[in-house]
């Protein structure tokens, strides 16, 4: 098997390990419903007056030049939450964060619709940017989600192929 991005297996916590109480809150949700980025950000930073930087990533369903009717997102319930949680915990160990959040939708999503939201809050700009990008890079290659296309032409949907560039993006963090 090739291309599986390693996630510092030495430091990845087992699900039954306790969280380090010094680490910031981690919010991970897998849901069919849409999310409201502004409301999620507000909850994450509320009452913390020492946050200087909030970086938000929103992943949207593209229409692929008008070809796509919808994406269908299949996921592995249970593991999806746990795996994204492990990646978020690793981000908390690597950067001084005041909060980190990831919401990933499943089910049928139309072009222009939200797929994923990642928010990282920190005192420092670089930490917030890097933690958000790290979380997205690993989420792409490690979170158990699979996209199937439904075409406007009504043709049988194809499973979206994994992109080698996504593995390369994740591998950057191990250098």
């Amino acid at each position: 098997m090739t291309g599986q991005a390693p996630l510092s297996p030495q430091t990845t916590p087992k699900p039954d390990q306790e969280r380090d109480p010094a680490l910031p809150p981690v919010v991970v949700r897998i849901q069919a419903e849409d999310f409201d980025p502004a409301a999620e950000i507000e909850k994450l930073v509320a009452g913390k007056a020492n946050i200087g930087a909030v970086v938000t990533f929103t992943g949207l369903c593209r229409d692929e030049a008008g070809r796509l009717a919808a994406l269908e997102l299949e996921h592995y319930p249970g593991m999806a939450e746990e795996e994204i949680g492990r990646i978020a915990q690793e981000a908390c160990r690597r950067w001084p964060l005041d909060g980190i959040l990831a919401i990933h939708r499943h089910g049928r999503i139309a072009p222009g619709g939200n797929i994923v939201l990642v928010v990282a809050a920190s005192r420092h700009r670089r930490a917030a940017f890097e933690a958000a990008e790290f979380l997205m890079d690993y989420l792409k290659t490690r979170a158990p989600f699979w996209k199937k296309e439904h075409l406007k032409s009504g043709g049988a949907g194809e499973w979206v192929d994994a992109r080698e560039s996504d593995n390369a993006d994740a591998d950057r963090w191990t250098r």
Binding site: M1, T2, G3, Q4, P15, G59, L73, E74, H75, Y76, G78, M79, E82, E83, H104, I115, V116, M136, L139, K140, T141, R142, A143, P144, F145, W146, K147, K148, W159, V160, D161, A162
Partner: protein, 83 residues
Amino acid sequence: MQIRYFAWVRERVGREAETLEVPAAVTTVSGLIDWLAERDESYASAFAERDTIRVALDHEHVEHDAPLAGAREAAFFPPMTGG
């Protein structure tokens, strides 16, 4: 052992999940794939592109050479395309 399949692996096997009695001689992920692929043509087709198949044991990614080591659930799926 609970076995789960996702995306095109699920479509090829023709089921989402099943509980199977895995022989004691099957001790690794790789051995489990060999054993499943021999069940019938659907399984053989699902596991034909063997190197592309990803595996999780009890919700954690593992390599093909990982021992089953008493895992309660094994899952097989293509490379992830979320995000």
